[in-house]
Amino acid sequence: MDSSRKSWLSRLGIVVIAAILVETISIVQFRRIHSIMEVEMDTRSHMALLSMQDRIGHMLDMTEGTMRENMLYLKFRLNDPDSIFRAMEYLIDDNTDVVGGGICFVPYYFPEKGRLYEPYAYKDGDTIYVEQIAGEDHDYTQNPFYIKVVESGRPDWSDPYLFETDSTRCLTSYSYPIKDEKGRVIAVCDLNVDVSWMGESLNAHQHFPSSFGMILTKDGRLVAGPPPSRASASMVEQAMELLRDEEESTSSSEMSVKTIRMKRDPYWQIAQVFKKDEVFADMRRMGLQQLLFILLGLAILFFMVNRFARSEKKLRDASERQARINGELEVARKIQREMLPESFPDGIYGLLEPAREVGGDLFDFYRRDGKLFFCIGDVSGKGVPSAMLMSVIHSLFRMVSQRIESPSGILKILNEQLCQGNDTNMFVTFFVGTIDYYTGRLRYANAGHDKPFLLSEGVSLLPAKSNLPLGVFPETLFEEQSLQLSPGCSLFLYTDGLTEAKHSGKQLFGRSRVQARLQEALSSGLDARQTVVSVFDEVRGFMGDAAQRDDLTMLLVQYNPSELVREHIDLKNHQEELSRLSDFLKGFCARVSLEQKLGLSLRLAAEEAVVNAISYAYPEGKEGLVSVYADSDRREVRFTIVDSGVPFDPTAVVPGDTRLDAQERPIGGLGILLTRKIMDSVSYSRKEGKNVLTLTKNIV
């Protein structure tokens, strides 16, 4: 499993945990709201039930009150059976709830009216009708209520019953015993109260489509219930079944029932029924919505976390990459630094300050064959691409100048190399010079670089031709120029990072400031290092806080021949001259103050080369001269052996094999071997009909 998948899973894990947390919280909240709602529902239904109880109680009270109030008046009428109709009329009219009423007299109370007599009054709209309704087909004495009231002598509320002529209406009757002076029941007065409204009222303002209210008798029969549109018969039955338990609050899986029982006759039970799924349907829907919102939110969260993590990973990757690049740049900077000369002999000092980690400037110098080779260059652009090209140029310069002495020749080859495959069209301004320590001859060639300053009597620009930079045209010719330097003269080379340094006000440092600074340094007699550092300090001071925009390079080389020892001897091509050579060499070594061992080996190297020339330069019997020049500036010893003999290059001779044993060894060929082993360089040239052999050895 790769790491990106791993981190993706861990992010998913975080979101899943977040989801579980949020869901748990919402479930707890859901439960709380659920229970709050339940309490609320309980309270509300209890209130509704209480209010209903009040209303029913009020109706009952009113009916009972009506009965009591009219009873006296009614009793007055008992003497005249027919006038009772009138009394009933009043009685019924007195109470809007009462729809009808009659008085059932005990059998034969009015003998003239026969066994049964029941004057009855009823309302039909605004009109009240009266009639005697008892007969053989309507024998009230068989009616249990009648029997009950007669026997008990106490008023009683009947269970509700359907209206005879209108089955949608429901009635209940209040039966009141009418007693004579002796307390005997002589009749039962019934008031029929329409209780249809109770069911309507209970169910008129239900919150939920299937919740309903109902009223039951004390033995559990239905007094008033919901219309069939609101609740099915089975629902009603189910509710009635639950109510048998006499609990204030009961519930089944489907419904919950709240109830109160009236504290007075007829002790009806008023109940409110809720269908559970309905009550909490909204809440469930709400919960479901909430769940969906949360899931949506979490999905968005996951998406964002994922994106954030991805972008954070990108950022981390980028910063790691940056750190790696920085590390590599640091290494590159070190490498580039190490390519520059690290130590400076007296009279030479260079300084390179790249604008970035790595730069496209370079300078270099080294001594070879009594000459100082030096160069300064500036690759177009800055940063890594310039630095890479700079490294190439630097190596090329080292390689080419090992073989070629002429500055223009060096430039020519550098240019040809650079022009090959220079697709990026980068170019390099370059200045190469050589100073011959023994003659003070400066040779130089310029490839589009800033003219160096010459510090001698005063400070002036070196009259250098500009020429084209390197890498522009392969055919460019670089004119070589030369100048005789007097002892103490210096060349100050620089790149445009110096003259084009800006301070915050955008003003350039300029050549005149450099010249003035150099003039001061010259007047104060500063050495090479002090001079370069003072220019650097000046430009730094000038720039202030402004950022360095370009690489800044300076190189100062001084021609200082005060330490020179130069000696010369002409020898004839005779073996006898060799003792003169020995004396000459001994004297030279002494004057250069060479340490004895080094002196002896240098003497050996020179002697072998001179003996070679004396022995072989001229044909047998022909006289000739061999001139020996011994020079030293106390850094290097140089022997130059010149003869006018036949062209002969001793450096082309294959040296003897030093691993052979005694018998196989040739007697000759040892001399040139010793010379080459001892000296740093042995070079041969044929000049103006002469063999010139130059031996050099660094003695520092």
Partner: protein, 100 residues
Amino acid sequence: MKTSVQEIDGKLVATLCGELDTAAAQETEVALQPLLQSRGKDIVIDCTELEYIASSGLRLLLSVLKQAQSVGSHVSLKNVNEVVRDVLDLTGFVSIFIFE
């Protein structure tokens, strides 16, 4: 340059004194002639006072060594100073001579 050859304890001992440069090589070659008739005797070349040697001097030593080896005698160099030792080193002569 002074050169002498003596016979000590059945060995030919040549003492080289001074600088054996090319100028001195001819006279030294003459002085070392007795070594070329060693007739099987071992040769010791005492370099205690040899200050300098050039390739012509090395050639002399090589001639002596070749001659001696051809008649089965050994040549050893005695008390070689540092300068001379370096030259012998550079030319590979260190490997063909015996040093005492």
